[in-house]
Amino acid sequence: MKTSFDAIIIGGGILGVSTAYELAKAGMKNICVIERRYLASGSTGRCGGGFRQQWSTEANTRLAIRSVRRLEHIEEELGYKTEFFQGGYLILSHSAEETAQFEKNVAMQRRLGLDVKIVDRAEAKKINPYLDVDQIECGTWCPTDGHISPFLLTQAYANAARRLGAEIHLWTNVTGLMKKSNVFFVMTDKGVTYETPILFNCAGSFSRTIGQMLNVEIPVDPYRHEILVTEPVEKLWNPMIIDFGIGLYARQEHSGGVVMGMGDPNEPVGTFVGSSMHFMFEMSRRFTLLFPKLGSLRIVRQWAGLYEMTADAQPVLGPVDEVENFYQANGFSGHGLMLAPAVSELLAEQVLKGKPSLPIDDLHVRRFRGKQEFHREKSVV
């Protein structure tokens, strides 16, 4: 078995496999992805599957626009069906304060070239006839947002990366890291030690632990977010609906089930991914509040995953100051899947060309060093 590689990526989620693919596509040989369990077994495989370009910070919006442009052609590029669907995103406002923030967001997003607009109640009703629009003030609508199957996209990237020669070692847990004269030694529970000059930390919720192994502080904390899906029914609506006021998101997936989740501000830090009765109760309340006609829909399954949060809800990206050639792509705060296609490309450019085609300096981990206050991304459920 080969144990010496030109680049090793820790984490077989969407970030890990897409980075492997981009590196291989740019001509790098000998790449290995090390995954603790199986592909997309962490946050990626448990996410809501949406992609959107409507963000409150410029950095996120730029990355997201680029990502969606990439996703539009990803099926042809990777040669794999992914359930990619541009059904749009409708984000709802309940108060004058929220509306003011949305107006600011839309102005910024339009300046960056995004097709997005404020819609009134009547238009929102047209976009989603099941919505109780009397409760909302207005909404923002972007028709090029949408959703995709996280499993299939991960598998698509993994298959393409393998075709280009990258290796993916599953069921292998990294237990220790060491750097000696420009070589990283990656120790695993399989008893195998890997060697590489370039190391990527795409370990999602476990990124802080991986960083600690090299004495680098990665300020990423996991929080459990729960989600449920209903029985498959005929087409109800196309877009993903987000409501920050009530605190929920809901979309109808390709096979007909409605997937929905919510944020819980009382959730403690931790890697527990069990399900709770409280979520089922509270999610039912919020969903039937916004969609009173859909009370007869049946819940089929609920599960949970981890948001890997940073203090400003934006990712940690690029190199670190403390250890050379140790690259980060983590802390995506619940939107890794949708940013991955752009981020992995930029990261590969940073590593192989020294300069990415879109600056990512703002997302360097040093922004957290010795600081308490951050300009936080507001559009997070």
């Binding site: 599953l170 089922m280 309340r285 049946r298 819940i299 089929v300 399954r301």
Partner: protein, 120 residues
């Protein structure tokens, strides 16, 4: 053509194709081809999928990583949950109102003492 998952219409060939792509567990197959995602939650296909993995990978069925069993046990409509949770919320609301009323009454009768306490 043999149907493995009745809820989602998944055939044996589709399951084998997923194994060829590298899947070794029931959960991976569920995620790739949706076998076990339907209303019965894999009650029918879980064992069949395990058998196919065991046969294809020449691995004893006992060595196959077990899938996660997720709630609810049976499909439940939202309004049924709300019938119970709505009552619970109503009771909580009433209890909170009562407690607030009690606290307000207490504060009204003890006002001078509380003020004195704050000064000290």
């Amino acid at each position: 053509m043999k149907i493995v998952c009745r809820c989602q219409d998944i055939t044996e060939e589709e399951v084998i194709a997923a194994i060829r792509q590298g899947a070794t567990t029931i959960d991976e197959i569920k995620r790739l081809v949706r076998a076990g995602m339907g209303p019965c939650q894999g009650r029918t296909c879980r064992r069949l999928v395990a058998q196919i993995i065991s046969r294809e990978l020449k691995k004893p069925a006992g060595d196959i990583y077990p899938p996660t069993f997720r709630p609810p046990n049976r499909p439940v409509p939202f309004k049924l949950i709300m019938a119970e949770y709505g009552e619970q919320l109503e009771a909580e609301k009433k209890a909170a109102e009562k407690a607030a009323e009690k606290a307000a009454k207490k504060a009204a009768t003890k006002k001078p003492a509380a003020k004195g306490g704050k000064k000290a």
